[in-house]
C-alpha cells in the first residue's frame, strides 16, 4: 500500500500549482522541497539581515485560469490595478518609456512620431498573435504520430486559429515567428533604445541574442499572453503573495508540505513486468511510497540524477543530456541605505532596462558565448521596495537586477574573485545611470548561474530549466517521449518549467501536468 497518491518533488510555484489541483480532486499529496523555504526561484529570501528579495522579480503572464480556478485572489494573490512601466534607460536621462494606464491603453514616450505610429501597428499585430497562441500554452500538446480524435482536434484548433487570423495575417505570422528579434525590430522601428527594450522579453532566459534564430519571437509572444498583454507587473503584495497564496490553497486542500527535504532518488521497482515508480528515497535512506511521483525539478536533474540512466533508454537519456540548459542570467541584489536616484527619472519606477542598442546586447552575448565576461553587460533593474516597502527596514531599499550575459561555463572557471570582478563591473555600470548609487550600498550579492544552480537546484542555473527555444518547445519540450508530462518511466510525471509551455511565473506547466495526471 502506498502512503500517498502523489509525491511532488519541488515546491516551486509549478509544483505547488500541481499539488493544489491534485489535492482538490481528492488525492493524498505530499510536496517535498529541498530548500528550507518554499517558492523555488520565486522564493523570498533574506540576502542581508532585514533585506529580502526573490530571484524572479516580476510577473508577465501568470495564468489567469489557474488564478481563478484555485481562487488565489481570496488567498492574497491580487493583481495590481496597473502594470509596471518599462523604461529604456539612457545615461543622460533621455529615456524611452512604455507604460499602460489602468484601462490597459499603452503610451510610449521618448520616440519619434514615426516610431510611435509603427508601434501601434506592431502592437496590434503582436497582440493578435499572442492571443492566438494563448490557449495552447495551457493545453497538453499531443504526441506527434499518435492518432485519436481529441489529439487531432488540438492541432486542428491551432490550424483553425491560424486561419481565423485571415490570410494576410496568417502569412505574416508564418514569416515573423522564426525571425531573429533584430530583424523584426529593424523592420518596424528606428529608435535604438526602443528596439533593445522591445526585444528584451524575446531573449531573456535563453541562450539567445538579437541576431539569434530559433524562435525568439515565439518566446516573446508567450510572454505577451499575460493579463497585461506583455507588460510586467507586481501583485499587490509582491512576488511572495503568489507563493503564499499557493501555500494557503495547498494547505486548505490537504496537501502535506515538507521543506528541508531533498529527494535523493526516485524509487523505481524493477521486476519482470518492467519498471514502476514506487516513491522516493531520502539521503538518510528513508523511503516514502506513492502511486506516482511528479517532479518539478528540471528534466536533467529529474532523469539523470533522480531516476538514473539505468532506468532510461539510451537515446532518450542522450536527448536529455543534449538539452540546452546553460544559464546566462545572473542576479545582482543590493541592500541600500536609501532610495536610488536614476538620471532623468522622478523615482526608480518600473522595469528599467540598461541596453542602449541591440548591438550592445549582441556584443554582451558574443563575449559570454565563448565563456568570457561581457565587456558591457546588459540588465533589467527593479527596485522592489518601491512597491513593497516591508522587504527592507524603513527608508531602506533593495535593487534586484537580472544581468545578461553571464556564462555558466566561465572559461577561467568561477571563483570568489571572478564573482567579485563581475559584481563590481555590474555595479560600476549601474552607477553610470544612478550616480549616487555606490554610496548607498550596504551589501551586494551576486548570484552567478553556477550559484543559482547550486542554491536553487536548477541545472545550469537556467531560467526556464531548459532554454525556451523553438526546438525545445511545444511537443518537443523537454523532448519527445516526455512532452505530455508523463515519462517513459511508468508512474513518473514532470510538472516544472522544463515542460511545455516553459518557464517564468506562469503556473501552466503545473496546471497541464495535473490535468494529464487526472485524466489517466
Amino acid at each position: 500500500m502506498s502512503s500517498y497518491d502523489t509525491i511532488i518533488i519541488g515546491a516551486g510555484h509549478n509544483g505547488m500549482v500541481c499539488a493544489c489541483y491534485l489535492a482538490r480532486r481528492g488525492q493524498k499529496v505530499l510536496l517535498l522541497e529541498a530548500a528550507n523555504e518554499i517558492g523555488g526561484l520565486a522564493a523570498k529570501r533574506e540576502f542581508f539581515p532585514e533585506f529580502q528579495v526573490s530571484v524572479a522579480h516580476s510577473i508577465s503572464h501568470f495564468s489567469a485560469k489557474v488564478a481563478k480556478e484555485l481562487n488565489l485572489e481570496s488567498h492574497g494573490f491580487i493583481n495590481p490595478s496597473c502594470s509596471l512601466p518599462t523604461v529604456g534607460l539612457n545615461r543622460n536621462g533621455e529615456h524611452v518609456v512604455l507604460a499602460h494606464d489602468e484601462g490597459g491603453a499603452a503610451s510610449l514616450s521618448g520616440v519619434s512620431e514615426k516610431d510611435l505610429a509603427s508601434f501601434k501597428n506592431y502592437q496590434t499585430l503582436m497582440y493578435r498573435y499572442a492571443a492566438m497562441l494563448k490557449p495552447f500554452w495551457g493545453t497538453v500538446l499531443p504526441r506527434i504520430g499518435v492518432s485519436g480524435i481529441s489529439k487531432a482536434m488540438t492541432y486542428a484548433k491551432l490550424g483553425l486559429k491560424l486561419r481565423l487570423l485571415g490570410k494576410s495575417d496568417m502569412r505574416e505570422f508564418m514569416r515573423i515567428a522564426m525571425l531573429p528579434a533584430r530583424d523584426l525590430m529593424d523592420e518596424y522601428f528606428d529608435n535604438d533604445l526602443l528596439k533593445a527594450l522591445l526585444s528584451w522579453d524575446a531573449l531573456i532566459g535563453s541562450k539567445m541574442a538579437p541576431r539569434s534564430p530559433n524562435g525568439p519571437v515565439v518566446s516573446l509572444l508567450y510572454r505577451m499572453g499575460g493579463d497585461f498583454e506583455g507588460a510586467h507587473y507586481l501583485p499587490e503584495n509582491g512576488i511572495e503573495s503568489l507563493i503564499y497564496s499557493l501555500r494557503s490553497v495547498a494547505e486548505a486542500s490537504g496537501v502535506e508540505t515538507r521543506t528541508n527535504f531533498p529527494v535523493e532518488k526516485i524509487l523505481i521497482q524493477r521486476n519482470e513486468s518492467g519498471l514502476k515508480v514506487e516513491g522516493v528515497t531520502m539521503p538518510d535512506g528513508e523511503i516514502i511510497t506513492a502511486t506516482r511521483v511528479v517532479s518539478s525539478a528540471d528534466p536533467h536533474r529529474t532523469f539523470i540524477d533522480l531516476v538514473g540512466v539505468e532506468n532510461l533508454e539510451i537515446q532518450f537519456a542522450n536527448r536529455i543530456r543534449r538539452l540546452r540548459s546553460e544559464g546566462y542570467v545572473a542576479k545582482l541584489h543590493l541592500a541600500l541605505h536609501g532610495e536610488p536616484k536614476f538620471n532623468g527619472l522622478a523615482g526608480p519606477e518600473g522595469r528599467m532596462i540598461i541596453a542602449p542598442t541591440m548591438d550592445t546586447i549582441e556584443f554582451a552575448y558574443d563575449d559570454a558565448k565563448y565563456g568570457e565576461f561581457s565587456r558591457q553587460p546588459v540588465m533589467e533593474v527593479i527596485v522592489p521596495t518601491r512597491y513593497q516597502s516591508e522587504l527592507a527596514p524603513p527608508g531602506k531599499h533593495v535593487i534586484s537586477a537580472h544581468v545578461m550575459y553571464v556564462p555558466k561555463m566561465l572559461k577561467s572557471k568561477w571563483s570568489v574573485d571572478a564573482r567579485e570582478e563581475i559584481k563590481n563591473k555590474t555595479i560600476d555600470l549601474l552607477a553610470q545611470y544612478s550616480p549616487g548609487l555606490k554610496n548607498l550600498i550596504a551589501h551586494a550579492e551576486f548570484l552567478t548561474p553556477e550559484d543559482i544552480e547550486s542554491n536553487f537546484r536548477v541545472t545550469g542555473g537556467n531560467w526556464h530549466h531548459a532554454d525556451h527555444v523553438i526546438d525545445q518547445m511545444f511537443m518537443m519540450r523537454p523532448t519527445y517521449e516526455a512532452a505530455q508530462y508523463s515519462t517513459p518511466v511508468p508512474g513518473l510525471f514532470l510538472c516544472g518549467a522544463g515542460c511545455h509551455p516553459g518557464g517564468d511565473l506562469m503556473g501552466a506547466a503545473g496546471h497541464n501536468a495535473a490535468h494529464e495526471i487526472l485524466k489517466s
Partner: protein
C-alpha cells in the same frame, strides 16, 4: 629520378587498407592476392579457392583472421549495469570466463548490431562486434559514474580456429586441458617465454562446428601463428577467407550484417532495419529483465508479431536463389519476401537459403523466382521452397565436452 635518400610520402596512406597482425604470414599464403577489406584491414576473400577452404574447415581445420573485428574493454563498477541496460539479454548471471552472444537495439527496438560479451572479471568485460561502435558505447555510458571504454581493436590480435580437428591441434600446440573447455568458455594459457598467461582461448566461432578463437598481444601474434601452424601441419590446417566463412555460417544459420540485417543506426528508411523478432532472435530478448534498451518497443513487437520473419529455406533444384524474391504462388504474382543469402550446400547436399518472409504467409506455399546464367544467357526458374526449423547443419561435437576426437 628520385634520390635514394629522400623518403617518398604516400599521398594515399590513410586510404590504403591496413595490415593485420597476422598479415606477414597470410600474405605468403594468399596465392590469389584476393583481398577484401574489413573495418579498414586487409582480409582475404579467399587464399587459394573458396570451396577448397570451405572443405578444409568442414573436414580439417582452418584459421580466420578476426583482427578486423571490433573489440572493446568495458571496465569499472558500472560496467555490468551499463552493458546490461544496453543489450537485450541478461548478463547479470554470467560467470567469469564465459562468453555470450547477444544483440542490442535502439530505443525503438531496432537492431543495431550483434556481438559477443566476454566476462573477464567482475568489473571487466570485452565486447566484440562487426562494426565500429564507439559512438553508441559512449552514448550508452552516459550517466553511469564508473565505467570506461577502451577500444582494443588494434591492441589485441585475434584468430579463429574452426573445424573438427581444431581441438586436436590446440592440444598438440601444448594447450593443456583445452578439451575440457566448454562451449562459450574461456581459458588462459602460458605462451612463449611469458610467465603469465598471455594466450586467451574462447570456445566460440561462426561456423556451427567445433571451433575456438585465440586472443593475444600483437607482439606474440606471429609467434602464435607459427606454433599453431606447426601443430596443425598434420591436421590440414589452412587459412580461409570471407567466402568460405560465409558458406559455413549460412549452413549453421547465422546472420550477417548487410546480408540478413541492416544496422539500425545506418539505415535511412525507417523500416529498412529489423527487430530481433524478425531475425528469429527471440531467444536473445529477455523480458524477465526489468529494463533494457528498446524493451517497451520490443514488448509491443512481441505482442503484435513481426511483420517479416527470417526463415531457413530448402529450395528445389540446385540453382542458388541469390538475390531473388519469394512469392506465395507459382505464378509469382504475390510477392511475400526476399532471399538474404543462398548457396548450394556441399555437406547438406541441398539448395539452401535464408529469407525474410512476411510472417502471415509462412504457413502457405513459398516459391522462389531464381535467376541464373548459362554461358552468357539468363534464365528464370520458379522453385518450391520448404521452411526448415533447425539449422541446415550442425554437429554434436560442437557441443560435446570433451569434443570427440576426429
Amino acid at each position: 629520378m628520385s634520390d635514394s635518400n629522400t623518403v617518398t610520402v604516400d599521398p594515399f596512406e590513410e586510404e590504403r587498407p591496413k595490415e593485420t597482425h597476422f598479415h606477414a604470414r597470410m600474405a605468403v599464403l594468399n596465392i590469389r592476392e584476393n583481398w577484401a577489406a574489413w573495418n579498414g584491414y586487409k582480409l582475404a576473400n579467399y587464399f587459394y579457392d573458396a570451396e577448397y577452404e570451405y572443405f578444409c574447415v568442414r573436414n580439417g581445420c582452418g584459421t580466420y583472421d578476426i583482427c578486423g573485428m571490433q573489440k572493446y574493454f568495458v571496465t569499472g563498477k558500472d560496467a555490468e549495469a551499463m552493458l546490461n541496460r544496453m543489450v537485450t539479454r541478461d548478463i547479470s548471471e554470467m560467470n567469469i570466463d564465459r562468453v555470450t552472444y547477444l544483440v542490442w537495439c535502439t530505443d525503438e527496438g531496432r537492431l543495431i548490431d550483434d556481438g559477443t560479451v566476454f566476462k573477464l572479471g567482475h568489473e571487466h568485460f570485452m565486447l566484440t562486434c562487426g562494426s565500429p561502435s564507439l559512438a553508441w558505447l559512449e552514448k550508452s555510458c552516459y550517466g553511469f559514474k564508473d565505467v570506461s571504454i577502451v577500444d582494443m581493436s588494434e591492441g589485441i590480435a585475434a584468430l579463429a580456429l574452426q573445424g573438427p580437428t581444431s581441438c586436436e591441434v590446440l592440444k598438440k600446440m601444448g594447450l593443456k586441458d583445452i578439451d575440457t573447455l566448454k562451449p562459450f568458455g574461456i581459458k588462459h594459457f602460458p605462451f612463449g617465454a611469458s610467465q603469465d598467461k598471455p594466450l586467451m582461448v574462447s570456445r566460440t566461432g561462426f561456423t556451427g562446428d567445433l571451433g575456438y578463437e585465440l586472443w593475444i598481444k600483437p607482439e606474440l601474434a606471429l609467434k602464435m601463428w607459427d606454433s599453431l601452424y606447426d601443430a596443425g601441419e598434420d591436421y590440414h590446417i589452412q587459412p580461409f577467407g570471407e567466402a568460405a566463412l560465409n558458406m559455413a555460417r549460412m549452413e549453421a544459420g547465422f546472420i550477417m550484417p548487410l546480408m540478413e540485417f541492416n544496422e539500425a543506426l545506418k539505415t535511412i528508411h525507417f523500416r529498412h532495419d529489423h527487430t530481433p523478432f524478425q531475425l528469429n532472435l527471440d531467444w536473445l530478448v529477455d523480458f524477465k529483465k526489468p529494463h533494457f534498451n528498446g524493451r517497451a518497443a520490443l514488448l509491443r513487437e512481441k505482442h503484435d508479431g513481426p511483420e517479416y520473419t527470417l526463415v531457413k529455406l530448402d529450395i528445389e533444384g540446385n540453382k542458388p536463389a541469390e538475390e531473388c524474391n519469394v512469392y506465395s504462388d507459382k505464378g509469382c504474382e504475390n510477392e511475400i519476401g526476399y532471399v538474404t543469402s543462398a548457396m548450394w550446400s556441399p555437406v547438406v547436399k541441398a539448395n539452401i537459403a535464408l529469407a525474410m518472409v512476411k510472417t502471415k504467409y509462412l504457413k502457405g506455399e513459398i516459391w522462389a523466382e531464381i535467376y541464373y546464367n548459362k554461358e552468357l544467357r539468363s534464365y528464370t526458374k520458379v522453385s518450391r521452397c520448404t521452411v526448415k526449423e533447425k539449422p541446415f547443419w550442425t554437429h554434436s561435437r560442437s557441443r560435446a565436452t570433451p569434443p570427440l576426437p576426429y
